[in-house]
């Protein structure tokens, strides 16, 4: 009996000899092993992988990974700096303003003008 690690159930499951052992040089269509576990920071950067032909722009993922994995304690929604802050403050201002507007609107709806 042969076993392989199932990436879906996270357990060892029964397998045929061919899927339990993939000979060198043959690339399986579906990866047999689940990717390595990532424990917080620092993580392996995508730049370590083999170089690929670049078209339609540069691969910016490795530098963005460095930026977003900086251990500075900033929450993920503000990690990119000023643009994030501006967008967050606009959203928050709209939230507070909207709550007040809602209260006024509901008060107005609760006190309709008497029709004579």
């Amino acid at each position: 009996m042969y076993y392989k690690f199932s990436g879906f159930t996270q357990r060892l499951v029964g397998a045929g000899a061919s899927s339990a052992y993939t000979p060198q040089g043959f690339k399986p269509a579906v990866p047999m092993e689940s990717p390595a576990l990532i424990f917080g920071t620092p993580t392996k950067l995508a730049s370590d992988s083999s170089s690929t032909v670049e078209y339609m722009g540069k691969n910016k993922v490795p530098e963005l990974q460095k930026l977003f994995q900086k251990p500075d304690g900033v929450p993920v929604h503000l990690k990119r700096g000023v643009p994030d802050k501006l967008l967050y403050r606009t959203t928050m201002a709209l939230t507070i303003g909207g709550t007040i507007y809602c209260l006024i609107a509901l008060y107005m709806a609760a006190h309709p003008k008497r029709q004579k």
Partner: protein, 261 residues
């Protein structure tokens, strides 16, 4: 950041549940204001806030997965279950509309002329645009699978092209449905035929638009090198959703367009 000795994702504190809840309050209050006082200001502000919340929330999830590596196989497993449950809930949403359709059509009331399609209704010919739409959606199911295999084999160019074709087919379907709605000789106010037809096909059309948006986000992420050969669950979820929309169309076509005419 301290060393993490487990594979779970402990999320950062996030403002988006709060802003989303307030957006929902603004939209419901805004609807009441629109209906009773004919003022759309609050409704539009609520919609805008909901849009801002959705964009930033999903942007953060992309950051957490692609840039911070929090989506471990265990976390991905939770997402798989979540997406499966979401699609099951969507299936039951559509079952409700099919129930209404069969309830009305299997025993047509005297008010309908005791026949289906009801007296005075001229249905659409199922072998014209609806059949083309069926072919378009089936073809898009093929191209999205093609794109998935290209991603798994690391063929970037092919994956991008196949995904672009899928999105184009989705947009073509929407365009054809728009023409069909424009040309339809009945309206949503024309008996239970009109209401079951437009509510069921209309919600399907909304889901096609959502699916097309989901696939477009995947295309942008694919072009920005976010997907690897073994980790691309965002794409898989979009593909599952797309297949679901495709299957709902097949049932709509067989029941409402073909059998119902």
């Amino acid at each position: 950041m301290t060393h993490q000795a487990h594979t779970y994702h402990i999320v950062d504190p996030s403002p988006w549940p709060l802003t989303g809840a307030i957006a929902a309050l603004m939209m419901t209050s805004g609807l009441a204001m629109w209906f009773h006082m004919n003022r759309m200001m609050l409704l539009n502000l609520g919609l805008f806030l909901m849009l801002l919340t959705a964009i930033q929330w999903w942007r953060d999830i992309v950051r957490e997965s692609t840039y911070q590596g929090h989506h471990t196989p265990l976390v991905q497993k939770g997402m798989r279950y979540g997406m499966i449950l979401f699609i099951i809930s969507e299936v039951f949403f559509f079952i409700g509309f099919f129930w209404a359709f069969y309830h009305s059509s299997l025993a047509p009331t005297p008010e309908l002329g005791a026949q289906w399609p009801p007296y005075g209704i001229t249905p659409l010919n199922p072998f014209e645009i609806p059949l083309l739409n069926t072919a378009v959606l089936l073809a898009s199911g093929v191209t999205v699978t093609w794109s998935h295999h290209a991603i798994m084999e690391g063929k970037r160019m092919e994956a991008t092209q196949a995904l672009s074709i899928t999105i184009s087919l989705g947009l073509y379907f929407t365009l054809l449905q728009m023409f069909e709605y424009y040309e339809a000789p009945f309206t949503i106010a024309d008996s239970t035929y009109g209401s079951t037809f437009f509510v069921a096909t209309g919600f399907h059309g909304l889901h096609v638009l959502i699916g097309t948006t989901f696939l477009t986000i995947c295309l942008l992420r694919q072009m920005n090198y976010h997907f690897t050969t073994s980790h691309h669950f965002g794409f898989e979820a979009a593909a599952w959703y797309w297949h679901f929309v495709d299957v709902v169309w097949l049932f709509l076509y067989l029941s409402i367009y073909w059998w119902g005419s």
